[in-house]
């Protein structure tokens, strides 16, 4: 079986698994039930996703949170394709958080399009089938003789045609067809999927309309600012808020005890005022004593010392062991060793964390920029002792996610404050400094690599000891060492092990979790290995990848199937390596300052060539980057794919130059006036080609 087929199989299985994980009901049943819920007031609302308007425009509901990844165009594009309407006739509406109705709603793990590809096509086809059935009844014509195009039903035999709007009321009374009966389009006939589609919110963004969580305005709303301890996890011992409370406009100070995510709860004070600026300024008038409880002992220096000690011994836990790596290294003609380290970094979303909440008559309504709202809903319910049915979450547009908003601490804080002020809506905004302090950071870490080369310069052994962060010997979010790490997965002798350090710095997933450090570290080391044998990195990569084959990754226990590591196809990996070499004209003797990198992450194979120069000022300038990618599926929206590639290259450079680094001393994230210094904008990335995959 090809890995394409395996992936397709995985995807189908994943769909069932995710739906099973979301509740007792299987998805197709839930889906049908959702489709059947029609609002009596809007007769043209056919399903949970599709509403036909009187002017024959179509309102399509977008189920997942939009963080700038373009999902608000992509998922509705899938529906519109099978509904058979022109994209110009589509209006997009954001769904509320309601997993019973929409299935899983999260922006993470690069899962939105793989998980929703088929369900969204089916959602479009469902509404189309209902319209066609209604037309067949009205015209007394067999369904098989009817076709659709551009928002119209056509009966070629009789020459009859009608816009969807004319049939919508009748269609809404039709039963929802069973998923198995739906006939989907031949992909060769796609007219929306694969075409450049601008973001549905772009005109509103350009006009400065209120779209984001921070823009939420409610009548009678008050504003909340937060003060938490400099040392993460410190306990609030005592405070005096009398000066703050005496300031004009300040209404209240609420004590927040151990609130936040379950593994990173913090104490804090919320200042409530008529204006957020007043509330935030009033923090300066608070007198607070914190109990650090020994957490100030953690620092970058203590981490580096612990890593050094760990590297002198064996890893605390084995992750992967193949062959006899020790013997292979001992017998090697040459051994290359290197250590790599990388810092903790912050997500630094440009929109600070915020959330608006209203607690009224025992019900809680929330407006949240959250990437994983259902987890937030459960966390709020648990923390506040409310029934989940008493909580409604409205999804706002999100001013940057990068994984930060997979955590819902702001939702818990806002809900706790709102419950303290029944009937009054409260908007909580983190000050930039609090936003840095309260991040869930991309873990720092340290690698100790060894590679053994035989007399012919062939790499025959690989060892990696990762010193990472977590608790109880288990790595934290995004801090793991995967057992199928390349090149361990292609070598006969390979040894992966890790040692997990504990600290008070909570960890979170950041864009391409784990991969974002592993790619840099392993590819950097392999580049050194290649240099030691007089080769360039892509030549070594092609040697290591060898013949085209599919390597299955070991299953990770306790992880849902859709988050299990996908199989690794060495042929597709070699394909992108060769493609990058070709488009950048790599040649036998690449110019000085030209670099190469390859990685497989989240179903995508990518290879990159970068041309760099060092100026007289010591600054590294990246003059050009070539990217070759194979995502194993259709590019739904090339306009967005281009943005994601360019953005990820710039983000990656931001990581490498440590622009988002948060130094840690005395158990504190050093945040004072930190500018999220991003990559130099003079870097010009010209996307050379966005390769669609060759057949496996």
């Amino acid at each position: 079986m090809s890995d394409q087929a395996l992936l397709a199989g995985n995807r189908r299985f994943a769909l069932k698994a995710m739906l099973a994980a979301g509740g007792a009901a299987a998805f197709d049943i839930e889906f049908a039930a959702a489709q059947g819920k029609r609002a009596a007031t809007a007769a043209s609302k056919l399903t949970a996703y599709v509403q036909i308007n009187a002017d024959n425009s179509v309102t399509i509901t977008s189920k997942n949170p939009e963080i700038g990844q373009g999902v608000k165009a992509m998922l509705p594009m899938l529906i519109a394709e099978e509904l058979d309407v022109a994209w110009s006739a589509v209006r997009v509406e954001q769904a509320v958080a309601d997993q019973a109705k929409f299935g899983e709603q999260f922006a993470g793990g690069s899962m939105s399009t793989p998980m929703n590809w088929m369900p969204m096509l089916q959602a479009g086809a469902t509404a189309r089938a209902m319209i066609v059935t209604a037309a067949a009844k009205q015209w007394a014509a067999p369904v098989a003789e009817l076709s659709t195009a551009n928002g119209e039903v056509i009966h070629a035999a009789s020459g009859r045609r009608a816009p969807y709007a004319a049939l919508a009321q009748a269609a809404a009374k039709e039963p929802v067809p069973a998923v198995e009966t739906l006939k989907l389009k031949d992909p060769a006939k796609f007219s929306i999927i694969g075409r450049p589609v601008p973001g549905p919110d772009t005109p509103a963004i350009v006009a400065g309309k209120p779209l984001f969580g921070i823009d939420t305005q409610l009548p009678g709303m008050v504003h909340a600012a937060l003060l938490t301890a400099p040392v993460r996890g410190a306990v609030l011992r005592s405070h005096d808020a009398s000066k703050a409370l005496a300031l004009p406009g300040v209404r209240k100070v609420v004590v927040l005890r151990q609130l936040g995510e379950e593994d990173g709860p913090v104490d804090g004070l919320a200042i409530i005022a008529d204006s957020w600026w007043t509330a935030n300024e009033a923090r300066k008038s608070l007198s607070v004593q914190w109990d650090n409880q020994g957490r100030e002992k953690h620092s970058d220096a203590s981490f580096a010392a612990a890593a050094k000690a760990a590297f002198a011994g064996k890893p605390a836990a084995a992750v992967h062991a193949a062959g006899d790596t020790s013997a292979a290294l001992t017998g090697a003609a040459k051994v290359v060793k290197a250590q790599y380290g990388y810092p903790f970094i912050a997500h630094a979303t440009l929109e600070p964390q915020n959330c608006t909440a209203l607690f009224k008559d025992g019900k809680l309504e929330i407006w949240a920029p959250s990437q994983m709202p259902d987890e937030g809903l459960k966390l709020v319910a648990k923390t506040l002792g409310l029934a989940t049915s008493a909580i409604t979450i409205n999804l706002t547009r999100i001013g940057g996610g990068f994984g930060r908003r997979l955590q819902n601490d702001y939702m818990v804080f806002a809900a706790a404050i709102a419950r303290d002020m029944p009937g009054t809506p409260v908007k909580l905004i983190y000050d930039r400094e609090e936003d840095f302090k309260l991040d869930f950071f991309r873990a720092g870490g340290f690698h100790q690599f060894e590679a053994g080369l035989d007399a012919a310069g062939k790499m025959v052994a690989f060892r990696d000891h990762l010193v990472t962060f977590g608790a109880g010997g288990k790595p934290g979010r995004g801090a793991e060492l995967p057992a199928d790490l390349f090149p361990a997965n292609v070598l006969a002798n390979a040894d992966l092990g890790m040692t997990v350090l504990e600290s008070n710095i909570p960890l979170g997933w950041l864009r391409a979790p784990a991969s974002n450090t592993l790619a840099f570290s392993t590819q950097g080391f392999l580049d050194e290995v290649a240099s030691a044998t007089g080769k360039t990195l892509p030549v070594l990569l092609l040697e290591l990848l060898g013949d085209a084959r599919v390597i299955m990754a070991p299953k990770i226990p306790g992880v849902p199937d859709y988050f299990q590591p996908p199989p690794f196809n060495t042929g597709r990996a070699a394909g992108v390596v060769r493609e990058a070499m070709k488009i950048a004209q790599w040649g036998d003797n690449p110019a000085k300052g030209r670099g190469f990198g390859f990685y497989f992450s989240h179903l995508g194979y990518f290879a990159v060539v970068a041309d760099c120069t060092t100026g007289a000022d010591g600054m590294i300038r990246v003059s050009k980057i070539w990217v070759a990618g194979d995502i194993g599926s259709t590019v739904i929206n090339p306009l967005n794919a281009e943005q994601q590639i360019r953005g990820s290259m710039i983000d990656g450079m931001g990581h490498v130059i440590s622009g988002l680094k948060v130094p840690i001393t005395g158990g504190q994230v050093q945040v004072a006036t930190r500018r999220p210094a991003l990559a130099n904008r003079r870097c010009l990335l010209r996307l050379q080609r966005l390769q669609t995959p060759s057949a496996a």
Binding site: G68, G208, G399, L639, R681
Partner: protein
Amino acid sequence: MKTVLKVNGQSREVDVPADKPLLWVLREDLGYVGPKFGCGQGLCGACTVLMDGQAIRACLTTLDTVGTAAITTIEGVAATPVGEKVSAAWIDLDVPQCGYCQAGQIMSAVALLETNPTPKDDEIDAAMAGNLCRCGTYHRIRDAIVKASGRKAAGGANV
């Protein structure tokens, strides 16, 4: 402090502390939520508005320093000829990703084109250096400014 502000061609009275930053006056007291709060320290540019045509950081500009100056926010910028061109170019090239920084980017772009109608690439980079985009939309920002200036783009979208 009772103050009459000129915002997007309209006179608006507010009664708030003299040291309240213009950003929060606009967002909280006048309902212009287009200018965004990013850092509160004048470092990210998300709050950029025009004061008598000049791009300023509204998060650091206190109310008492505004006086009778004309303030233009993203909500009103498309009413000016340059603002209209810039907004149209932004939509044509689909510049935003998350979109949070874009109001500030557009205001800085308008201020640039008002003083330098045909900026070169390095002049664009220099003028826009104070506006961060965490998603990395810099290429399309530059392309949109070039487009709004009427100059033919050298690079640009090539998918």
